[in-house]
Subunit: 142 residues, 2 copies
């Protein structure tokens, strides 16, 4: 059952579950659509009428801090979240603004010298930009 996934995921990462947190976590685990704060708020507000946007903001930040979700900011001023923490890249379509997931054939390696200098890397994100196939078909550009 989905709620259990959400529950255990939170607990395993040291996040105290609450109705709101479980709902948001569950939403992320069932919608890999890179939702924004607003998307999540709009989706859950009907279900949890008292939910406030503040809570969505706070919760997502909490999730990112605890590595149960990641914040994505491929383009300026369009921040969204992803519950998929496995290594993958994000492709942002300049035209429609959608974000697609993208497998990586090579996991990017930081330069050894850089690491040996003493820097500590704990997270990597790879962003691609371009035009997605749907938009290309419509021939608006290219």
């Amino acid at each position: 059952m989905k709620s259990n996934d959400a529950y255990s995921r939170l607990v395993e990462h040291g996040v105290k579950p609450s109705v709101q947190r479980l709902a948001i976590m569950d939403y992320l685990l069932t919608h890999f659509t890179h939702p924004t704060v607003d998307d999540i708020y709009k989706a859950l507000h009907p279900i949890i009428p008292t939910l406030s946007k503040t809570t969505v903001y706070n919760t997502l930040r909490l999730f990112a801090d605890h590595h149960v979700a990641q914040m994505i900011s491929v383009d300026d001023h369009h921040i969204c979240y992803d519950g998929d923490m496995s290594p993958h890249a994000h492709f942002y379509c300049n035209q429609c603004g959608r974000i697609h997931d993208l497998q990586l054939t090579t996991t990017p390696q930081a330069d050894q010298r850089f690491l040996q200098e003493g820097h500590l890397v704990d997270m990597v994100q790879v962003y691609y930009r371009g035009i997605c196939k749907e938009c290309r078909k419509q021939g608006k550009t290219n």
Copy 2:
């Protein structure tokens, strides 16, 4: 001479040069410090007293559109710009907030299947996050 670099860079990419644009381009070409809009404004305002922040915003967006500079948004709400268009990654220090450049040993390759599906990739960015060596030495964390 630096101004010439800026000039030709703009012209080559189809950006009409102007005093303001040249100054901003020149700034990017001589300061690989990942400046924010505000950094650039503060640096150039004394030299071009009439310069407005609006122009800095508009110009940097124009630059990004024309690929003469790239917009970087490693962390939420801290957008900055980079005049270095050669492939390299950015490392964001969670502690001090500075952004370091980082050589890539492997240029990340998009999955062939993804490209063959018809998507068009025209830009890649790789972001690392962690703690830089300076902050680690200070032992605030880790």
